[in-house]
């Protein structure tokens, strides 16, 4: 039992006391980045004021403390996502994007050859597309896209054909544009049934619902600290210890080697093989605090709350603003999360965001780094509003008020 209360989260989040153009901030851009609670900011402060030192090769007190903080964060993040061997399966990267590059350049380059297929979906973020295109240029692999249906869901009719020659199915748990919630465990099973491994982009999931890599049965999972109330500059790449052990190094440098001679080098074992150079130590301390904070809220409670708010938001948007706002994404709240791509009749998303800003409302206009998806639905851009655990019903009311003003201004 947790006693999740969004108003409590709001109080914990310093940025939400800000005013924008003389109005309280209405932050609806958590899909871009979440706002860290004081506990996360203070954890990093404490690190810098009390424990900072470079990790791993130290003997003195603060070096040990920094190492404990960093390795402790690794284990705690591992447990948070249900990793079977938390100490040995979590690699810290700088963001989700680097995690996918690591997947493509290390596992991909070692296991894929010309003609092998990596299956992604048309709803992927560029982070899970461009690295595969780069591998295609280098190695002649094929990158295939699962198409999207008019219902804003994956079109999996032709499963067997889609999986022909596929070595890896890499897909997002939740679309950062449509809010679509994919059936992760079923998709992983489909991949395994077809002899492929499965990678999950959990960037939009991990701060909003309980994540269990074992329940998913996934082989790789990537996400970012800054989308789960944590700091910038830190991402996570998770894979099973056995796969990790088989992956060749990616970036080269200090910390990732066992030995270097003038004639060659021997890579280290374990996650550090993929963590060349001084890692994001303070950021790991911040993520650890974020994980604790989220755990304290209770991820199931957060998911339930955001779901209820999603239902409300869909209703409000459908009924207000004279029917001039279309939500690009699944109609059914059960099939989606609180990410709302808005198409306002006659008003460009850029202008929508501009007018909303005047009301202190933060939404993101653009292609959201998902251009194939945008093309699929014939959109150049949308104005995206998205929820976090600190979002209140009142935020939705301000959103609707501001949308009404937008429609009025543009006539």
């Amino acid at each position: 039992m947790t006693s999740f209360d969004p108003r409590r989260v709001r109080i914990d989040t310093p940025l939400l006391t800000r005013e924008i153009h003389g109005r309280p901030i209405t932050y609806l851009d958590s899909a871009s980045s979440t706002l860290p609670p004081r506990a996360v900011i203070e954890a990093m402060d404490r690190y810098y004021t009390g424990h900072h030192a470079n990790v791993h090769r130290g003997v003195y007190q603060t070096a040990n403390e920094a190492t404990e903080i960093y390795e402790g964060a690794r284990a705690e993040v591992g447990r948070f996502i249900g990793a079977p061997d938390p100490e040995n399966e979590v690699v810290f990267t700088k963001n989700t994007t680097e995690a996918f590059n690591l997947l493509a350049r290390s596992w991909g380059a070692a296991n894929l050859r010309a003609g092998d297929v990596v299956l992604v979906t048309e709803m992927e973020h560029h982070a899970n597309i461009v690295p595969w295109f780069q591998l295609r240029e280098e190695r002649g692999i094929e990158v295939r896209f699962v198409p999207l249906g008019d219902d804003f869901r994956l079109d999996l009719k032709d499963l067997d054909r889609l999986f022909e020659g596929v070595k890896l199915f890499s897909f997002t748990a939740i679309s950062n544009v449509l809010g679509t919630r994919n059936p992760v465990a079923a998709l992983v099973r489909a991949a395994h049934d077809h002899g492929a491994l499965a990678a999950v982009d959990a960037a939009q999931a991990v701060g909003h619902q309980r994540t269990d890599v074992r329940a998913w049965d996934a082989d790789f999972v990537c996400f970012s600290a800054h989308k789960m109330l944590g700091p910038t500059g830190l991402g996570v790449f998770w894979t099973r210890a056995a796969i990790l052990a088989s992956m060749p190094p990616f970036l080269g440098g200090g910390g990732m080697i066992a030995d270097v001679r003038t004639d060659g080098f021997v890579p280290a074992s374990g996650p550090t093989r993929f963590e060349a150079g001084t890692p994001p130590i303070a950021e790991a301390a911040g993520l650890r605090a974020a994980v604790r904070y989220l755990t304290g809220l209770g991820l199931d409670a957060v998911a339930e709350y955001e779901h209820a708010l999603t239902v409300t938001a869909l209703d409000l948007l459908a009924e207000s603003v004279d029917g001039r706002v279309r939500v690009i994404g699944p109609r059914e709240a059960t099939e989606r999360t609180g990410v709302f791509s808005l198409d306002v009749e006659g008003v460009h998303p850029h202008d929508v965001a501009q007018v909303l800003d005047e009301y202190g409302v933060c939404v993101r206009p653009g292609h959201h780094c998902a251009k194939p998806l945008m093309r699929r639905y014939g959109l150049a851009a949308t104005a995206r509003a998205s929820l976090g655990p600190y979002t209140l019903r009142g935020d939705l009311d301000v959103l609707v008020e501001a949308l009404q003003a937008t429609v009025k201004l543009f006539g």
Binding site: H21, V347, H348, P349, H350, D351, Q354, V355, E358, P365, G366, H367, M374, A380, A381, L409, F410, G411
Partner: protein, 153 residues
């Protein structure tokens, strides 16, 4: 502080709703594409240049109100003018779109010349919204490119 009124002048919204010189030209001297990767705005400029005069201009594409209005106003301002005049209008517009770090009121940058360019001065308020400057200048950069393309054609 800048308010929405500075950005969305009535004349700008008018051009956005009823853009001038929309469409394609059948036999353009130049057809040039412009692109703003940040917001996805796309623009195609069609020019007919004869004897040093920009005889006709048409535009297609999509974008926000500022980019659409700016391109529409631009087309009205340059159509039928000698290229030397067009270049001067472009220069004046670009300098109007320059952020003054010292906080100079952008309206003060509206030269008398620009005022005679007609409605363009209405875009001066865009400078108060630095992220939107690119929206306003897309058409103009594409026009500059199109004039170069035409010279080479």
């Amino acid at each position: 502080m800048a308010g929405l009124d500075d950005l969305y002048r009535e004349i700008i919204l008018d051009h956005y709703r009823s853009p001038r010189n929309r469409g394609e030209l059948d036999h353009p001297t130049a057809r040039t594409e412009g692109f703003n990767p940040l917001c996805g705005d796309e623009l195609v400029v069609y020019l007919v240049v004869r004897d040093g005069v920009l005889e006709d201009i048409k535009l297609t594409g999509h974008g926000c109100s500022i980019s659409q209005a700016s391109s529409s106003m631009m087309s009205a301002a340059v159509k039928g003018k000698p290229l030397s005049d067009v270049r001067q209008i472009i220069d004046r517009f670009k300098s109007m779109m320059t952020v003054h770090e010292d906080g100079t009121d952008p309206e003060a940058a509206v030269t008398p010349d620009l005022r005679t360019d007609g409605e363009l001065a209405a875009l001066a308020g865009v400078v108060k919204f630095p992220v939107r400057i690119k929206c306003a200048t897309l058409a103009w950069n594409t026009l500059t490119q199109a004039i170069d393309d035409a010279a080479r054609a």
